[in-house]
């Protein structure tokens, strides 16, 4: 079955037809060609596909495009670009919070939502708050530092 869906991605209105079984991540990557959002698993565990849906971090591999009718979606490309980095992007670079870069977009999107929703940010809150994102490279140490550092900037 084909469906029609209208949503807003990174500030741009998008209207398209797609098969009903299209996931949000397929729409983002294959139809909109925004390939910063990655797919690292098929069981909704790794978090590489994390984007913001109406301002909250979600796993875009586990949402149908159809469920996003009328929604606001932000991907890593919409968070900040090379000339205008979001403080979280900047902090990941400054703290060496990434190595291969594959989990990074999802990790950053989760971290931004974490800082938005948690009133107080500390190591424990960050570690527990990022349990839905797997990184195989960094051991998370520098990711924790990056989120702590970005949280300070985001709150100022």
């Amino acid at each position: 079955m084909s469906i029609s869906v209208q949503l807003n991605v990174n500030g741009k209105s998008v209207k398209l037809d797609c098969p009903a079984n299209t996931t949000l991540v397929d729409l983002i990557r294959e139809r909109l060609e925004l390939t910063g959002t990655h797919v690292g698993c098929d069981t909704s565990q790794c978090g590489a596909c994390t984007v913001h849906l109406n301002g909250r971090a979600v796993k875009s591999c586990t949402i149908l495009a159809a469920q996003c009718e009328g929604a606001e979606v932000t991907t890593i490309e919409g968070l900040g670009d090379t000339d205008n980095l979001h403080p979280m992007q900047e902090a990941f670079r400054e703290c060496h919070g990434l190595q291969c870069g594959f989990c990074t977009p999802g990790m950053i999107m989760s971290a931004v939502d974490l800082v938005h929703r948690e009133p107080s940010i500390n190591e424990r809150v960050i570690r527990e708050g990022l349990e839905g994102n797997i990184c195989r490279c960094t051991g998370y140490h520098n990711i924790v530092l990056a989120v702590e550092s970005a949280a300070k900037k985001m709150r100022n």
Binding site: V39, G40, T75, R93, G139
Partner: protein, 783 residues
């Protein structure tokens, strides 16, 4: 003058693209008109393949073609080779059963590819794959490593499922030393099987151009040139000059992307056959089934000592699981990367090791971060710890007593290696201090007052990196050279393009190598671009594995940069009207001695490319130099890791309260990147020691086939890491570097198990030390 950047934590040049979603991984690439591939995989661990009926699937929507293992056989493609010949102790060659690109007559592990469905879309390919009907006649499966040699034979040419029976060291002397020893510590262990799980699943796009007859293969490879060599020389897919392999951004490897696999090979073959571009991206479930796994040893060891605790001899018998086929470097892992490391940091005079490698009906097993060296280190550092407990001495002191001393270098071990340099005690002392070893008793008392158990454990590891030299490796069975290429191209404006045969997939070479070259030329890191991962761009290279990139690849670049400077001096001598012997190069300037005359690096570059005033009779124009560097020895990173744990005795839940790693990696170019490598390695070591375990059931079905069951370390499983460095500079390469990529995964597991067994007060807990195992050990200990 530009600030010298060696030893500085320069922020990574590659990060801007990754943090903004501008990375370009294989899966991000789409080619016009591309089709999609999906593999039909064996649901059985061991079965005869009968008729493969593709008729129904072929008629399904979008299907372009279905190719089977039988067609692979008809086309007479070569098998996937293993690149290291191991000889058994009787002199015979290892058994290397055909590893077909896709199975034609028999499948030997669950997930082995049997057919490739090519369709217009991924969904169509996957839908059709479900309708490919394969007649299987199931055979009994061999799964257990320990029991493989008594199971039914998988291959007629490998009786007892034995690939080889290898030995190293002096048996008679070792036996005699153990026989007469005052004390012998015995230890039997299993080194648990792991699944690498780089976060980017493997992927490939094969694109054959009928007009140029050129095949371009985009693939997730740590070593694209090696992949090209194997696909051309062994599998005979396409001639080497007509095959271009591009490994763009690669999302982690940890060894698993060194190897040439069935999938990209089948894709390359199919693209040539069909004349279409074909893309395949593994689903994570496929990664679990069909990526090469790691570790999987079963060992018995005996350590003999005299009355004073001096080590006299170590005897080891290991059975190593190869899985169903020999993967690209599988045979070298439990031999030359394992047996040779059993001396550790100690002056054990007699060592003898026997390794039986066995075939089982499980996925192939090959190098995973550390590759052989974690297995050796775990064995040595656990048995040394057990010895200390048995002798009633401090584990740190028993280690110290037996350590190779600085005056002993170069030190020839009884297991083939010659360590060039190190100062193990300095690392040990620094780690003990950073971990506050002296304060442990107080912390333990505090924990006990709170009803908790506390333990501390050490591991003094050594590893051998930068596998070399080529001639020695060749004599030991390696099928390839182990040098590295590098090219330094100075552009006319004085910026520099660096080409390397190594491949960066998280290690930050684009920054480290830029620092190395920029510092040599006195230019800014921003003016150096590092290019890697494309056989169409750079010279043949061996790629990235075994912590070799800086010590071997960086050395090649260092030599090439020296050549650039030498040529620059000649140009400068001409322009400055002096003798070349009187030209110094420093801080980016060529200066004529005893004058105030000089030329900048940029001026010399310009003169080389615009040779209007140039010694053209003596010197070619241009300023680009290459080097092929073949190391004279391995490098030997070493250090001490200390783990402290607190355990909840009611549940067995273990928390690492502090993890200290002190490492000697020789010269460090970028401390930030090096520390990041340590963090990542230790995280994988903690994963092995406490969380990760690949489990097959008796019929060979994978029980841990997703992140729901295979326990990956998450942020809340890990502590912050305390990282320190000591330095002895590598004596034999121009950079002085030893390599840092694997140390974390090598040093940490025994430190963790030593800490946990110390806390519980038991001899052993097998990896992974899950809460249930720890809880059971506590029950046992209290009973």
């Amino acid at each position: 003058m530009v600030e010298q950047s060696i030893g500085k934590s320069v922020l990574r040049k590659e990060d801007l693209r990754f943090i903004t979603g501008n990375g370009r991984y294989t899966g991000d690439i789409d080619l016009r008109g591309q089709t999609h591939g999906y593999f039909v995989r064996s649901p059985y661990a061991h079965a005869v393949v009968g008729e493969v009926d593709t008729s129904e699937a072929r008629s399904m929507p979008g299907v372009v073609a279905i190719l089977t293992g039988k067609q692979v056989a008809e086309d007479e493609l070569g098998g996937l080779p293993c690149g290291w010949m191991i000889h058994s102790k009787d002199g015979s060659e290892m058994k290397q059963p055909l590893h077909p690109v896709m199975a034609a007559t028999k499948v030997n592990y669950v997930g082995e590819p049997v057919a490739l469905v090519v369709a217009d879309s991924f969904d169509e390919a996957k839908n059709a794959a479900e309708h490919v009907s394969v007649d299987y006649e199931e055979l009994p499966a061999v799964v257990s490593t320990a029991a493989a040699q008594s199971g039914p034979d998988i291959y007629a040419e490998a009786p007892g499922n034995t690939c080889y029976q290898w030995e190293l060291g002096e048996k008679a002397a070792t036996d005699a030393a153990i026989e007469g020893a005052a004390h012998v510590t015995r230890y039997s262990l299993t080194n648990n099987r792991l699944i690498p799980n780089a976060l980017e699943p493997r992927a490939a796009i094969a694109d054959f151009n009928r007009g140029t007859e050129e095949l371009t293969l985009y693939t997730t490879s740590q070593n694209p040139h090696l992949a090209r060599l194997i696909l051309t020389a062994f599998v005979q897919i396409a001639p080497e000059h007509k095959l271009r392999i591009i490994a763009p951004d690669v999302g982690g490897g940890f060894g698993s992307k060194i190897f040439v696999y069935s999938e990209e090979t089948a894709l390359a073959w199919a693209s040539m056959k069909l004349g279409v571009a074909i893309k395949w991206t593994a689903e994570r479930s496929e990664s679990f089934l069909a990526d090469a796994h790691g570790r999987d040893h079963v060992s018995d060891a005996e350590l003999a000592m005299d009355e004073e605790g001096n080590f006299l001899a170590l005897r080891v018998k290991t059975t190593a699981n190869m899985g169903a086929y020999l993967s690209t470097f599988a045979s070298a892992v439990p031999t030359y990367l394992y047996g040779t490391l059993l001396a550790g940091q100690y002056k054990t005079p007699n060592i003898y090791v026997e390794v039986d490698s066995v075939f089982t009906n499980t996925a192939p097993v090959d190098a995973y971060r550390g590759a052989g060296r974690p297995e050796a280190t775990f064995l040595v550092e656990r048995i040394v710890d057990l010895a200390a407990k048995e002798l009633g001495v401090d584990p740190a002191e028993l280690r110290r007593k037996n350590m190779i001393q600085p005056a002993d270098f170069p030190y020839q071990t009884p297991v083939a290696l010659e360590y060039d340099i190190g100062d193990y005690e300095v690392s040990l002392n620094k780690a003990l201090e950073m971990a506050d070893y002296a304060g442990f008793a107080n912390r333990k008392a505090d924990s006990e007052a709170n009803g908790k158990l506390r333990g501390i454990g050490l591991s003094c590891y050594i590893e051998a990196c930068g596998l070399a030299p080529s001639a020695l490796a060749g004599a030991l069975g390696a099928g390839v050279g182990l040098w590295e290429s590098g090219e330094v191209r100075v552009n006319p404006t004085g910026s520099v393009t660096v080409l390397t045969g190594t491949h960066s997939h998280g290690q930050g070479h684009e920054t480290t190598f830029a620092q190395l070259v920029a510092s040599r030329f006195g230019i800014s890191v921003d003016d150096v671009e590092v290019v890697h991962g494309d056989t169409g761009k750079m010279d043949f290279g061996l790629g990235t594995y075994g912590s070799r990139s800086l010590s071997v690849g960086g050395s090649a670049l260092s030599v090439a940069a020296d050549k650039v400077v030498e040529k620059g001096r000649k140009i400068a001598a001409h322009l400055l009207e002096g003798d070349v012997d009187n030209i110094d190069f420093e801080d980016g300037e060529f200066r004529l001695k005893e004058s105030n005359r000089s030329k900048t690096f940029q001026e010399i570059a310009f003169a080389a490319y615009v040779p209007h005033d140039y010694p053209i009779e003596e010197l070619e124009p241009g300023l680009a130099e290459k080097a092929f560097y073949d190391p004279v020895n391995f490098t030997y990173p070493a250090g001490t890791h200390i783990c402290e744990v607190e355990i909840d005795p009611e549940t067995g839940v273990t928390e690492i309260t502090k993890f200290t790693a002190v490492d000697d990696f020789g010269t460090i170019i970028n401390p930030m990147i090096v520390e990041g490598q340590v963090h990542g390695g230790v995280a994988q070591g903690i994963g092995q020691a406490m969380l990760e375990q690949c489990v097959y059931d008796e019929s060979g079905q994978l029980q841990t086939g997703s992140f729901m069951d295979y326990c990956m370390p998450r942020a809340d499983d890990l502590p912050n890491f305390t990282v320190g460095m000591t330095t002895t500079v590598c004596t034999h390469n121009p950079v002085g570097a030893k390599g840092c990529g694997e140390a974390g995964a090598i040093g940490s597991p025994p430190a963790i198990i030593n800490a946990i067994t110390d806390a519980v007060g038991v001899r052993d807990i097998s990896m992974p030390a899950t809460p249930e195992k720890v809880w059971r050990a506590i029950q046992e200990q209290r009973a």
